[in-house]
Symmetry: C2
Subunit: 244 residues, 2 copies
């Protein structure tokens, strides 16, 4: 691990030996003004397809620059095929859920509008940028897609065979262990976390009637949505994902 | 659940039928100025020993007030005997770890200073107040104690037979499942989360040499300390705590 440069950048560019990667103005500003890197300094690059590469600063300018790929350092590894569906809440906690989903390892982040969701819009581009930053910081070599906000009912209308684990405060305690319950949802799977006010009775009834849905209770205390997201992702990763 | 008043207050006062509880100035300000409650309004009270009580505003004043206990609504239930040891980080993330520990259910929160811990002091009183707020919000009827910051080495010097699960980035993947590993640490137990820079080699060697210690890896990505705390607490609660 110590050989990986600490500064990591996601780039939308093929990575292979000798490849020269032009930097955006923001990236150049970050590397050369904020982090004060000079020519020859090392940076790690990933693009979600070619693993992680060690690159060197070949040209450093005020408004741009070029990095040259030197060597592959980490093989491409994608998180399991797991989606996180969540109802956006206050901005800081929504950002937090996106950050945590990336760290925990999901393939797609799906904001959904439920009957009790307060926010009627999100800034998809801002959340996607937040996911990129989280991937740069946590050492992931891929970035999950963040989709536009969609009504939960519409998402469920088109639902295929994918298992959907649904954090349901009202679910009765399970006789099998939580670990066994999550093990019943191998990839492709999804986890659905409700808003602070929970789901409506209409939503709960519909979800509980779907054969793909597995309702799970998450302990005896009331969890905030962001806590519930990390808890459910943890149980899934340990039982059915890549933490095994 | 709908019968429990939404406003919950932790009070340092015995709770039984007819008991009259005097409010602090801050509590009176919150109830009567911020939330605009009037005489006769209902509030839930808990003190960590007598369960949760429905109380009514008996006197509402500018600088104080009195609540009268009406009826017990929730039996006292304490979280399992689980401590969370963590190295304080930036203020917002330290607050977050305290909040999450309360939601997840721990009996004690122990800030420890490690070799790579940046912060040399904490405001214990502020963190304890933060734990009270988290308990008021998450429906818990007890509040974990937050201890003063102590050096990790000193905490380990006096360690008794309590199992200590240690989130160790360098731990090899386990052949038994993570669920089985956490099941080996029934109460009384503790979880130790390191600082962003990880533990020093001296610390890791010492921890790994203690027979009470169980090192666990938390997946293939690098988790922030606050994410690791929620993940480890989740796995413990599901395997050995009160989520079973």
């Amino acid at each position: 691990m110590s050989e990986r440069p600490k500064i990591r950048l996601f780039v939308d560019h093929p990575l292979e030996e000798g490849e020269r990667v032009a930097l955006s103005r923001d990236q150049a500003n970050y590397l050369f003004n904020v982090m004060r890197l000079r020519e020859g300094a090392e940076v790690a690059l990933f693009n979600g397809a070619d693993g992680e590469w060690r690159a060197e600063v070949a040209e450093a300018g005020k408004r741009g620059g070029v990095l040259a790929c030197v060597a592959a350092t980490v093989a491409q590894a994608n998180p399991p095929d797991l989606w996180l569906l969540f109802a956006p809440i206050k901005k800081a906690r929504t950002d937090f859920i996106v950050e945590k989903a990336v760290e925990m390892g999901v393939s797609r982040i799906v904001p959904v509008q439920t009957e009790f969701t307060n926010s009627e819009r999100i800034r998809q581009d801002r959340l996607q940028a937040h996911a990129v930053e989280a991937a740069e910081q946590c050492g992931a070599v891929s970035v999950p897609e963040v989709t536009e906000l969609q009504p939960l009912a519409k998402v469920l209308d088109g639902w295929d065979a994918r298992k959907l684990v649904f954090a349901d405060e009202g679910a009765a305690g399970q006789s099998p262990s939580l670990s066994d319950v999550f093990a019943e949802a191998p990839p492709p799977a999804a986890i659905l976390i409700g808003p602070e006010g929970g789901f409506s009775e209409v939503e709960r009834t519909r979800l509980r009637g779907m054969e793909q849905v597995i309702p799970v209770p998450l302990g005896p205390r009331i969890l905030r949505a962001d806590t519930a997201a990390v808890a459910a992702l943890t149980l899934w990763q340990a039982a059915a994902g890549d933490w095994g």
